[in-house]
Symmetry: C2
Subunit: 393 residues, 2 copies
């Protein structure tokens, strides 16, 4: 989930922390949020229970941290139903490739668990957070961005996307009311860094993001069943679901399980986060970019290769700061090929230019496939994903 | 409206101000809230436009203050539709006679303007404000209290009662979102005395009470029409609708007009407010009280008569502190009889006992009639009042 940008959440991850987003700092966050590293034992259990190979993002520590994933796997092993909850704050018309990561992963989880996926489009929250857009525009963007999400391949019979603006009410509002009763302003201030100078909408927003983590919020979908949620998210969102877990205790609701990812870095350096509001347009690959633009932007990306070819052959690249290499950890699925590249680039056998070309080819294919899938989504398909009653008999 | 008790709103009317609730202090409040006294000229205009005699509560300065009532009368004179908005925080099973006053007055306004009445039952707000009740109980009380409201004689075809818990969503939530965007926590603190130590539900509540003041919140009822609201309320609620009027400016919505009442005093003295949470049960006449109880309670009420009959005959009663006499200003409609009592009691011709007996007879009749009317309200009638779509073709 990426409804709230890191840099608006000073209390949790401030920009200083984010500019030093190396492995050691992610570990600090895990401690801070009371989370746990996803280790090999847990991944083996995941593969055994789901009967599916662990996603490369799990194996490569991109989705690296969790809460209660083991407990959730026990539930699934016992034949219990679970659901996946994720969301998006609809902002620009054109999403970037970093925005796709959580949805590609949620689609994988849907297949792995054969589970219902609930996706909150927080059009109201975007309206609170930005002064330049109207509520109607935010609502319209919810549907535009939904097409990009659907293009990731979700099962239309098991996926429910909703505009928060249009959907708050009924059982969902009931849980929001319970949250608004049991949470004080001081708790919001402590956890989210929001205070009385913020609009009421922002102060209240955490209640609206948390409520969908409970199956009782969706009577049309889950009826009276108590179904546990699994919530994949960027680590910056973990604080929401700490509140959610405390609330579950109070209400005797099933505690949601969570999986946390690192941030996809911006192209200008691995100590930044890809952001569509970046001042540097070359830092971001939009889903609307064509092959020429992608090649240009990747060409300008921060490299860990050496300044001269001789020096590079001798010393090899610094993989930890090389953005193109880091992107391959996301987008090159083939483990053997990835290992070969790791060896050859770090030893200087492969050049920065070669690495960048491999990435360009992958991203051009990703973006083109995505465009093709998106073009297939007409009003009827879109409506089907937004219909909460579609499985009612 | 009486969703928020005076004594929880330190910033607006603190208990000190309330314990000196004499005419002069009401005038101070009028100034403080930027309201205007309802004078004879305005009452004449009211009678001319509505073709109906002004209610005694208007003539006797019980509903004494307003904003834009004159402008609203111009709209009505021009043939424009208006609607009445009022509400109740459903608390105890048994309402008291003070609770009836705003609804008796709203029913009068419905007849005078032939207008739709919208009544918000703030079950969610009562849940935020009280620790001893569950949300289900508050919701149930909304329906119980609605029976007492309906018994005041509202037109079932033109009256819409709603549980806020059940109704927030759609066009109503849309206006709440606009309010939550345009109001900061500091504005809430300044106007309502709520701060970060309050539950989020309480901090946010003003947005939920204000939104129904706009016809655009009820698309099912008003469709796309821009209809101006007239809101009768206790003067302690005026602050809500100052916020509402500022918001109307921002949104280019019709500005709601308001009429403000004084408080029905408690039986122990005119410097108190009748409250079901009073520590003195004898201070309150409940709608469930029988004739014997009413007689006993009125007998114990604070009297402005003198200590001995001789002294009383000589000096007469102090009407300004005599609770029974003050109640007659509310419940004795007959102006001639009321004038006679005023003369005879203040001059000592009538005794405190006689005044109290007249009041007992009036209240016993009021309560008995109310009980009879209430008993006629079955589930079908109740459902009709809660049906927002009943007039849709």
């Amino acid at each position: 989930m990426s409804q709230i940008d890191c840099d608006t959440k000073d209390e949790v991850i401030n920009p200083q922390e984010l500019t030093s987003c190396k492995v050691v700092d992610y570990m600090k966050l895990v401690d801070k949020f009371g989370c746990h590293i996803i280790d090999n034992t847990l991944l083996e259990k995941f593969e055994k229970v789901t009967g599916k190979k662990a996603h490369v993002w799990l194996k490569r520590n991109i989705y690296f941290s969790h809460q209660d994933l083991d407990t959730l796997l026990d539930l699934v092993a016992d034949g219990k139903e679970i659901f996946i909850y994720t969301g998006r704050g609809p902002s620009s018309n054109s999403m970037h490739i970093g925005h796709l990561v959580p949805f590609m992963f949620a689609k994988y989880l849907q297949d792995a668990f054969n589970a219902i996926v609930i996706i909150q489009m927080s059009d109201d929250e975007k309206y609170y957070a930005r002064d330049s857009v109207s509520l109607d525009e935010c609502n319209k963007l919810a549907y535009e961005n939904a097409k990009d999400i659907i293009a990731c391949g979700f099962n239309p019979l098991k996926t429910f996307i909703f505009s928060n603006l249009e959907t708050v009410g009924g059982s969902l509002f009931r849980n929001i009311v319970h949250l608004m009763k049991t949470t004080t302003g001081n708790q919001i201030k402590g956890a989210y860094g929001l205070n009385l100078s913020n609009p009421i909408g922002q102060i209240t927003w955490p209640m609206f993001q948390i409520a969908p983590a409970f199956s009782s919020s969706f009577e049309n979908i889950f009826h009276k069943k108590n179904v546990t949620a699994l919530i994949p998210m960027g680590i910056d969102q973990a604080v929401y679901f700490r509140t959610a877990r405390d609330f579950a205790d109070k209400m005797k609701y099933p505690k949601p399980a969570t999986i946390h990812s690192k941030f996809l870095p911006g192209l200008e350096g691995i100590n930044t986060k890809m952001s569509s509001t970046s001042t540097n347009a070359n830092s971001v690959i939009f889903l609307s970019d064509n092959a020429v633009t992608i090649k240009k932007k990747i060409g300008l990306s921060f490299s860990g290769g050496k300044n001269t070819l001789i020096e590079h052959r001798l010393l090899g690249a610094d993989l930890s700061v090389d953005v193109a290499y880091q992107y391959l950890t996301y987008f090159l699925e083939d483990d053997d090929k990835f290992q070969q590249i790791t060896t050859d680039y770090s030893s200087g056998i492969m050049t920065s230019g070669q690495i960048k070309q491999i990435l360009v080819d992958l991203l051009v294919e990703l973006v083109n496939t995505h465009k093709k899938n998106r073009d297939l989504i007409d009003a009827i398909v879109l409506r089907q994903f937004f219909d909460m009653t579609k499985n009612d008999l």
